[in-house]
C-alpha cells in the first residue's frame, strides 16, 4: 500500500467516523432521550390521546431508525466514490 493511498484511506475512515458519530447521536436522541428520558418534558405536546414521548417510544423512533440506515448507506456510497475506495 503506497503512502498516498494510506493518506486517502485515513481521510476516508475519518469522514466515516464523523458520519457514524452524527447518526449515533440522532439514534440515541430519538430513542433514549425523546422516548424515555425527556418524555416528561414532551408531555405537553399531545398526540392521539397521549403525548409526543409515547409516539417516539412506540413508533417515531422506529421510522427514524429506518430513515437513518438508508441515509447513511447513501452517504457512504458517495464517500466511497469520493475517496475512490468503491467496489467494481
Amino acid at each position: 500500500m503506497s503512502t498516498a493511498q494510506d493518506m486517502s484511506g485515513q481521510a476516508y475512515w475519518k469522514a466515516n467516523i464523523r458520519l457514524v458519530t452524527i447518526h449515533l447521536i440522532v439514534w440515541a436522541f430519538v430513542s433514549y432521550f425523546c422516548g424515555i428520558l425527556l418524555r416528561p418534558m414532551l408531555s405537553g405536546i399531545p398526540i392521539g390521546g397521549t403525548d409526543l414521548g409515547f409516539w417516539f417510544a412506540q413508533q417515531g423512533s422506529m421510522f427514524i431508525f429506518i430513515a437513518q440506515i438508508f441515509i447513511y448507506a447513501a452517504q457512504m456510497n458517495k464517500l466511497d466514490r469520493r475517496f475512490d475506495v468503491h467496489e467494481d
Binding site: 392521539g48 431508525f65 467496489e87
Partner: protein
C-alpha cells in the same frame, strides 16, 4: 368449510411451498451452504433477515407484552429495532468485506488467537441453542393448538420440515424459504390488524388507527387509559418501571440484536459491501411493518378484551359480564387453559381487576392468536394466523441451526481438528452438524428444561456482553490485541452470567438464587435482562485497558483492519 379443514389446507399449502423451494435451491458447495454463494439481492436478503429475526416470540408474544405492559413495552419495540442501526453502521459492511463464513472466524483471525475463536464458538452455541429451544416449543404449541395434533407429533413434523430444507439447502435453501415465510407471516399479522383497526377507529392503517378516535370521538389511547384506571390498573400510557432500568434494558436489547450471530451471518450472503448497508435498511423496513403494527394490535386487542368483560360501569354490580353470556371465543380459549375464570365472590360475573379481587387470568400469548376471533373475522384469517405463527418459528429456527452447524463444521472441525478437510468433506460435515443440531434442539423441545423461558435473557446477554464488543473493537480499534479481546469477552460474559444467576438461580436451577428476583433487590434497580449493557461496558473497558498494557497487535493484523475498513476489493472474497 370448517376451521379445522381450512387450517390443514392453509398450513399444508405453505409446507408444500417450503419443501418445493428446498428442492429447487439445493446447495452444492460450502460457499452456497454457508453464505448462499454470496449472490442474494440486498432486498431479498433484507426480507430473509426479517423472517430470520422475527421469531415465534415476535409474532405471538410481543403484542401481548405490549397490551399488558403499555408504555413500558417500548423497550422491546426500540430495542429490537435499534440494533439494526448499529448493525448497518458498525458491523455488517465490515464483516462482509472480511469475506469469511462465521462470526468466530472473524474473531479468531482478527485477534490471531484460537482461544478467542473458541470463546466465541461457545458464546455462539449457547446463545443460539437456548434461542432455538424456544422456537421448537413454539412449533409444537402452534401445531397442538390449531391442528389439534399432540405436541410431540407437531414437533416431529416441524423437525422434518426444517431438516429437509436446512440440511439440503443450507443457507441458500434457508434464504429462499425465509422469503416465502416472511410473506406468509406478514400477511397473517397485518390482515387481522387492519380489520380490527377499521372496526375500532375507522382507519384501515393500524399505524394511524393507534392514534385515532373511537366511535364516540375520544382517542383510543385516552379511552384505554381511563378503562384501565377504572379497573384498578395503572394508565396504559404511563411509565411504571424505573428509568435507568428502561434505558439499560433497551440498550441491552439493541446490543444483543446487533451481536446475535444468526442475524450477522445473513449479511455474508450479499454480493457487495454497499449491499450489506442497504440490506440492513431493508431488513428493518420489513421488520418495521410488523413492529409498528404490534402496538396497535396490543392496545386494540386489550381494549376489546376489557370492553368485553366489563361492558358497563365498574361501580355498578351488573357492569361486569355475566359468565353465562360469555362469547364463543372466550369458551374456545377456556378449553386451552390459557384463559381462566374463577368466581371468587360467587356473583356469576367476570370481575377483571387488579389485585386479589381479580377473577380472570389471561395468558398474554393469546392476544394475537385470539384477535381474529374476538374481532369476529372469517375462518380463513384464523387459519392464516396459524400458518403465520409456524412460519415465524420455522424461519428463526432454521437461521439459528445454520449458525450452530457452520460454527461446528467450519470453526471447530475445519478450523481446529481437521484442517486438511476437503471441500466435499466439509460440506458433508456441515450437513451432519445441521442434522445433529436439529436433533438436539428437538430433544430440548420435547423435554424443555424448566428454565426455558428465562434463557432468552441469557442469549441476549451473551450476545450483547461478549460478541458485540469483540466485533466492534475488532473493526474500530486497531490497538486491541489478542489478550485484551479474550479478557474483555470473559469479563463481560462472567459479569453478566453472575448477575443473571444471582437473581434467576445458579445455572438456572430453581431455588438457588442468592437474592430474590424483585425490583427492590436489583443493583440500582437494574433487572437481570438489562444487565447485558453493563457487561458490554465492562468488556469494552477491560479489553482496552489490558491491550494498552500488553504488546501491540502484529503489523499484518493492523493491515487486516485497515483492509476491512474500505469496501474496495470485496469481490475477491466470493471465491474464498
Amino acid at each position: 368449510m370448517d376451521l379445522q379443514t381450512l387450517t390443514y389446507i392453509v398450513v399444508g399449502a405453505t409446507f408444500a411451498l417450503y419443501i418445493g423451494i428446498a428442492i429447487w435451491a439445493r446447495a452444492g458447495t460450502t460457499g452456497e451452504f454457508y453464505a448462499a454463494g454470496r449472490g442474494i439481492h440486498p432486498v431479498a436478503n433484507g426480507m430473509a433477515t426479517a423472517a430470520d429475526w422475527m421469531s415465534a416470540a415476535s409474532f405471538i408474544s410481543m403484542a401481548g407484552l405490549i397490551a399488558f405492559m403499555g408504555y413500558d413495552a417500548s423497550i422491546f419495540l426500540m430495542g429490537w429495532t435499534g440494533g439494526y442501526v448499529l448493525l448497518a453502521m458498525l458491523l455488517a459492511p465490515y464483516l462482509r468485506k472480511f469475506g469469511k463464513f462465521t462470526v468466530p472466524e472473524f474473531i479468531g483471525d482478527r485477534y490471531y488467537s484460537q482461544t478467542a475463536r473458541i470463546v466465541a464458538v461457545i458464546c455462539l452455541i449457547v446463545a443460539s441453542l437456548t434461542y432455538v429451544i424456544g422456537q421448537m416449543k413454539g412449533i409444537g404449541v402452534a401445531f397442538s393448538r390449531f391442528l389439534e395434533l399432540d405436541y410431540e407429533t407437531g414437533l416431529y413434523t416441524g423437525m422434518v420440515i426444517v431438516f429437509f430444507y436446512a440440511v439440503l439447502g443450507g443457507m441458500k435453501g434457508i434464504t429462499y424459504t425465509q422469503i416465502a415465510q416472511y410473506c406468509v407471516l406478514i400477511f397473517a399479522y397485518t390482515i387481522p390488524a387492519i380489520f380490527i383497526s377499521l372496526q375500532l377507529t375507522d382507519n384501515p392503517i393500524p399505524q394511524l388507527g393507534l392514534w385515532g378516535n373511537l366511535e364516540d370521538g375520544t382517542p383510543l389511547l385516552q379511552k384505554l387509559d381511563m378503562t384501565l384506571v377504572d379497573l384498578g390498573f395503572g394508565e396504559y400510557t404511563a411509565q411504571k418501571g424505573g428509568t435507568l432500568n428502561m434505558v439499560l434494558y433497551t440498550f441491552s436489547l439493541m446490543l444483543g440484536t446487533a451481536g446475535l450471530p444468526h442475524v450477522i451471518i445473513r449479511f455474508f450472503t450479499v454480493p457487495k459491501v454497499r449491499d450489506a448497508r442497504y440490506s440492513a435498511g431493508w431488513a428493518l423496513v420489513f421488520i418495521g411493518i410488523l413492529y409498528t403494527t404490534a402496538p396497535a394490535v396490543g392496545s386494540m386487542a386489550f381494549y376489546n378484551l376489557a370492553k368485553t368483560v366489563q361492558p358497563g360501569p365498574v361501580a355498578e354490580a351488573d357492569g361486569a359480564l355475566s359468565y353465562e353470556q360469555r362469547p364463543q371465543w372466550f369458551k374456545n380459549w377456556e378449553t386451552t387453559g390459557l384463559l381462566t375464570f374463577e368466581d371468587k365472590n360467587g356473583d356469576g360475573r367476570i370481575q377483571y381487576r387488579k389485585g386479589d379481587a381479580n377473577e380472570l387470568k389471561v395468558d398474554r400469548d393469546i392476544m394475537v392468536l385470539a384477535n381474529p376471533e374476538i374481532a369476529k373475522l372469517p375462518n380463513w384469517v384464523i387459519a392464516l394466523v396459524a400458518a403465520g405463527g409456524l412460519a415465524a418459528a420455522l424461519s428463526t429456527a432454521a437461521g439459528l441451526l445454520l449458525a450452530i452447524s457452520s460454527s461446528i463444521s467450519h470453526d471447530l472441525l475445519k478450523g481446529m481438528f481437521a484442517k486438511g478437510i476437503s471441500e466435499k468433506g466439509e460440506l458433508l460435515a456441515a450437513r451432519v452438524a445441521m442434522a445433529g443440531a436439529i436433533v438436539v434442539a428437538g430433544y430440548f423441545g420435547l423435554h424443555p428444561p424448566g428454565f426455558a423461558a428465562q434463557v432468552v435473557a441469557l442469549a441476549f446477554g451473551l450476545a450483547a456482553s461478549s460478541i458485540f464488543p469483540a466485533l466492534m473493537m475488532g473493526i474500530f480499534n486497531k490497538r486491541v490485541n489478542n489478550v485484551g479481546a479474550v479478557v474483555g469477552m470473559l469479563v463481560g460474559l462472567s459479569a453478566t452470567l453472575v448477575y443473571i444467576f444471582t437473581y434467576k438461580g445458579w445455572f438456572f436451577i430453581p431455588g438457588t438464587n442468592t437474592l430474590p428476583n424483585t425490583a427492590d433487590n436489583w443493583f440500582l434497580g437494574i433487572s437481570p435482562e438489562a444487565f447485558g449493557a453493563v457487561g458490554a461496558m465492562l468488556n469494552f473497558a477491560s479489553a482496552i485497558i489490558v491491550s494498552k498494557m500488553t504488546a501491540e497487535p502484529p503489523e499484518h493484523i493492523q493491515h487486516l483492519v485497515e483492509d476491512i475498513r474500505v469496501p474496495k476489493g470485496a469481490g475477491g472474497a466470493v471465491d474464498h
